[in-house]
C-alpha cells in the first residue's frame, strides 16, 4: 500500500506555468484547425501561452461575463455588442471572416443547389420537409441560422419532425447530419476540415447574408481584476499584425482558403 501511495504522489507533481492567458473560442474556430497553426506561432513570437476553451459562442460569452477567461474570440455581432455594452468587455476588434454554407445529401431532394439566395434555399428545405439538423445550442452558427429562418418568415418552433435541434457543437452536429443524411448549415472552415462527410455535399454558398465575421474581445479588467490585461493587449497586437494576416490568409485545406484576414491596424 505504501508503494502504491508513493507512486501516486510522484504522479501528482507540481504544475509549472509560463506567461499564460485563457481565451474562449468557438468550436468552428478550433474545428477548422486554424488554432493549431496560430497558437504555436503566437507562443514563438510573443512567448505567450494561450489556453483555448473550445465552446459555443453562447457559453464563451458566459465565461467572459463570469471572468473565467481573459478574452473571447467569437462570431455573433449582436451578442458581442451586448457583451461590450454591458461592460464585460473593453472593446470589440474584428479579426477575420469566412462564410456559412449549406450542406446536404448529394441527391439534394429539396433542390437547394438551384436556389438563388439563402432564404429561398431554406424555404425549399421547409417545403419538402427534408431532414434538417440545427445546432440548437445558442452558438454563433445557431443564431445565424435563426436569423435566416426569420428572413423566410417561418418559425422553427412550429416545425415538425424533420427539424432536428441537436444542441451540440459544430462537429457533433455534422456527425448527426451525416448519420441522418440531412441538410445542415455550417461554417466553411469546419466543413472542409470535417473527416466524416459520408454522402454530404456542399450545396449552397455565396449569398452575402452568409458572411461570418470573427471578433476578439478582451474581458474588462475593471470588472475582473485578475484578468491578464497585459497579455490580452499583447495578443490583440499579434492577431492584428501582418504575421497573423499571412498565417490566416495562407491557411488552406485541399487548396481552399478558409479565412480572410480583415483587421484594421
Amino acid at each position: 500500500m505504501t508503494r502504491f501511495l508513493g507512486a501516486i504522489l510522484m504522479l501528482i507533481g507540481v504544475q509549472v506555468h509560463a506567461e499564460t492567458m485563457r481565451m474562449a473560442v468557438t468550436t468552428s474556430f478550433h474545428n477548422s484547425g486554424l488554432s493549431d497553426v496560430l497558437l504555436p506561432a503566437i507562443e514563438a513570437d510573443t512567448g505567450l501561452e494561450v489556453q483555448l476553451l473550445v465552446v459555443g459562442t453562447g457559453q464563451a460569452i458566459r465565461l467572459g461575463e463570469a471572468g473565467d477567461v481573459d478574452a473571447i474570440l467569437v462570431h455573433s455581432k449582436s451578442a458581442e455588442e451586448a457583451f461590450v455594452k454591458g461592460g464585460y468587455g473593453t472593446h470589440r476588434r474584428e479579426i477575420m471572416y469566412n462564410d456559412f454554407v449549406l450542406i446536404g445529401p448529394s441527391t439534394d431532394a429539396a433542390k437547394v443547389q438551384e436556389a438563388t439566395d439563402a432564404a429561398t434555399a431554406l424555404r425549399l428545405i421547409h417545403d419538402t420537409q427534408s431532414p434538417f439538423v440545427s445546432r440548437g445550442d445558442d452558438s454563433g452558427t445557431h443564431k445565424k441560422e435563426l436569423s435566416l429562418w426569420a428572413l423566410t418568415s417561418l418559425d422553427p418552433a412550429q416545425f415538425g419532425d424533420w427539424y432536428n435541434a441537436v444542441g451540440a457543437g459544430m462537429g457533433a452536429s455534422l456527425n448527426t447530419a451525416a448519420g441522418l443524411n440531412a441538410y445542415i448549415m455550417a461554417d466553411r472552415a469546419s466543413w472542409l476540415n470535417f473527416g466524416n462527410k459520408q454522402d454530404l455535399r456542399l450545396l449552397f454558398a455565396g449569398d452575402p447574408v452568409l458572411f461570418n465575421q470573427y471578433a476578439y474581445i478582451p474581458v474588462n479588467p475593471e470588472r475582473h481584476a485578475h484578468v491578464n490585461a497585459q497579455a490580452t493587449a499583447q495578443l490583440e497586437d499579434w492577431l492584428t499584425s501582418p504575421a497573423a494576416s499571412a498565417l490566416i490568409n495562407g491557411y488552406t485545406i485541399a487548396g481552399e482558403a478558409l479565412f480572410t484576414f480583415n483587421a484594421t491596424p
Partner: protein, 234 residues
Amino acid sequence: MNDIWAGIEAAFRLIITLDSDLVEITLRSLQVSLSALVIASLIALPFGTWLAIRRFRYRRLTIATLNALMGLPPVVVGLIVYLLLSRSGPFGVLGLLFTPTAMIIAQVIIITPLIASITHQAMRELWAEYHDLLISLNTSKSQRILTLIRDGRRTLLTAALAGFGRAIGEVGAIMIVGGNIDHATRVLTTAIALETGKGDFALALGLGFVLIALALLVNFAIHALSRTEREGRW
C-alpha cells in the same frame, strides 16, 4: 468495421511511436483519476465502514441517500463545481477553475458515494461475523473500524477499483470544470470527445483503446502490488 480497424491501427501507431501528446494526456488522466481515487478512498472507506457498525437515528436515510448518490449525473456535478469555482462564484478567488485540481474535486464528488456504498455493503456482512468477537474484546470504535478495513481489504480493493473505473472513464464533469485545454487539462476522455467532434473517428477510437488498455493495466498493477489471488491467500 473499417472504422474499427482504423481505430486499432491508430492505437498501435500512437503507442509504438510513443506519441508525445498521447503520453502527456495519458499521464494527466492517471494523475487526475488516481488523485481523486486516493482522496475519495480516504473519505469513503472509513465512512462506509463506520456506517456498517454504527447504529444511529437517520442511518437508513443516510444509506438510502448514499446509494442514490451512486448514480449522481456527472454533468450536474460538473456544473455545480463550475459555479462554485467560477470567478463569480464563492470560491472564485482561489483561481482553481480549468486546472487539474478542479477536475480532481469533481471526480472525488462523483466517486466517493460509489466507494462508500460498496464498502458499506461489504462491511455489513463482515461486521455480522466479527460483531461478537470485537464487542467481547472491548475494542474502541476506531479499533473496530481499522480491524474491519484490514480484514476486508480484498472487497475494499474492489470498491476502490470500481471508483477508479468511473473516474477514468468520466467525461461530462471534467469537460466543464477542466475545459479540455490543450497541454493543461486535456485528458483521454475529453480528447476522445474532441476528435469525435472533428469526425476523426480513427484517432478517437485509437485513444479509446489506449484508455481501455490503461484501465486494465492499472487494475493488474494494483492486484500485483497488493498480492491478491496468490496461492494460499485470496
